[in-house]
């Protein structure tokens, strides 16, 4: 009986792990800035949303992604709603990819990620600079997009392990 309960608990914990990662990273801004490496930064949240919504949107609901965007705006100090809009655009791209793809291909997904982050960062830069008159460093955004793109395979590997564990627990 107790082992059954324990399994249920682990199952639910693993299922909510992507949401936990999402909120922990928007509240904490995980980008390793304290390492003080010039220009080094990457957007973990973009990778996280792209991977999990592409894999299966059940793990990350659109509502929680919207909420995480609002939280991110408050923490970073951006006008409220900007991050939510960008995160949901990632979801739109992944939903479109899921609809048109029969067999998933890593290279296709990786290139789609590059296209997506370039698109949303461009929208963010245009919005902040031209609409809200907030000065932004274009180079930082470009380098951030580059590192996010480069780091995707590493996180893909890690997230695949987690996903497998969630599936195993589900089948148990």
């Amino acid at each position: 009986m107790s082992s059954l309960n324990k399994n249920d608990l682990i199952k639910s914990l693993l299922f909510y792990l992507p949401i936990f990662f999402l909120f922990a990273s928007v509240l904490n801004e995980i980008d390793l800035n304290y390492l003080e490496i010039e220009f080094f930064s990457f957007n973990f949240v973009h990778i996280l949303i792209f991977y999990w919504t592409l894999k299966n949107p059940r793990y990350l609901s659109y509502g929680s992604i919207f909420l995480a965007g609002i939280v991110n705006d408050v923490v970073v100090g951006l006008p409220m709603g900007v991050s939510s809009f960008c995160y949901l655009l990632i979801c739109a791209v992944t939903a479109y990819l899921r609809n048109i793809t029969i067999t998933p291909n890593f290279i296709n997904d990786w290139i789609s990620l590059l296209f997506t982050i370039l698109l949303i960062n461009s929208i963010q830069v245009i919005g902040l600079d031209f609409i809200f008159s907030i000065e932004v460093n274009y180079m930082q955004y470009l380098v951030n997009s580059g590192f996010t793109f480069i780091f995707y395979p590493i996180f893909l590997f890690l997230f695949n392990i987690i996903e497998k564990k969630i599936k195993i627990q589900k089948n148990d």
Partner: protein, 285 residues
């Protein structure tokens, strides 16, 4: 051709409108809601501002708790750096201390003289200090700001100066009920009127997004004037927000770009407690 276009439209429609996999909202609804929030946030609509303050209160506190492990590693990396450069730092401090002891003798006299001169022109300078703890230190690549645990209930107002020991580090840009956000001098959007001493040149220090600032709005020949001199950057007091004479940083030559940059006195990575200061410069005239 028409078939390909139809497939595209079907895929797009399905992506935006279909509420698949236990989703409570469709993507289009949430995207529309985000745009509405952006528009409402940009206009000063009172109820929206109150909701925003409420969200800020909750998110800042949560962020403080969630950031504890990262802050621990951040402090650990800083401590490690300090231990590794202990001897070099000691030698540097020894020389600096010797110089400072010499300067201190002159300073006491200058303070007294300054006080007498202010009395002569009936100028009074009153300041109110408030100590605040740095709750969240988000040194993100986009915005350099800190969250402080003092807000409107402690009479914090937008524009107040943030001081670390006696060095200026930024100003308050957002005030909530129990907390506030301060923009650091290193942020791209930070512009502070300053005075380059001892040459008495007025300028503006602008943040760069990195841990240094640059001098803007001076005459072109200022580069020639400062060559080979030690230039200290102080606040000029223009605009009335900051007290004149607050030390900001030192002008140094960047070897990589061969440009003059402002090296801030305060290390923005290590701000635990800061002073929120408001000034009132009164004139007897």
């Amino acid at each position: 051709m028409a078939v390909i276009r139809d497939d595209f439209v079907i895929a797009i429609r399905s992506a935006f409108l279909k509420k698949s996999y236990q989703q409570k909202f469709s993507l289009l609804t949430l995207l529309f809601l985000s745009v509405v929030i952006i528009i409402l946030g940009s206009i000063n609509f009172k109820p929206v501002q109150y909701v925003k303050i409420g969200i800020n209160e909750i998110v800042y506190r949560s962020s403080f708790i969630i950031s504890i492990p990262e802050n621990y590693f951040k402090n650990l990396s800083i401590k490690l750096d300090e231990h590794l450069s202990l001897y070099d730092q000691f030698k540097k401090n020894e020389t600096e201390l010797k110089n400072l002891k010499e300067k201190k003798l002159n300073n006491n006299f200058l303070i007294l003289e300054n006080k007498k001169l202010r009395e002569l022109i009936n100028e009074t300078l009153q300041s109110e200090d408030l100590y605040a703890k740095v709750l969240v230190d988000k040194n993100s690549p986009y915005l350099k700001s800190i969250i402080l645990n003092k807000g409107s209930k402690d009479n914090v107002k937008i524009g107040m100066a943030i001081v670390d020991n006696s060095y200026l580090v930024g100003k308050v840009i957002e005030v909530n009920y129990t907390n506030s956000r301060a923009l650091l001098l290193s942020d791209l959007n930070s512009k502070i009127p300053v005075l380059l001493e001892p040459l008495d040149i007025h300028a503006v220090v602008s943040g760069t997004g990195s841990n240094y600032g640059v001098i803007e709005y001076t005459k072109d020949d200022y580069d020639q004037k400062i060559k080979g001199k030690e230039i200290i950057v102080y606040t000029s007091g223009y605009g009335g927000l900051f007290k004149p004479g607050l030390p900001v940083g030192k002008l140094i030559n960047d070897n990589k770009t061969n440009k003059n940059i402002v090296s801030f006195y305060s290390d923005f990575r290590q701000l635990d407690y800061v002073k929120i200061v408001s000034y009132d410069i009164g004139s007897g005239n």
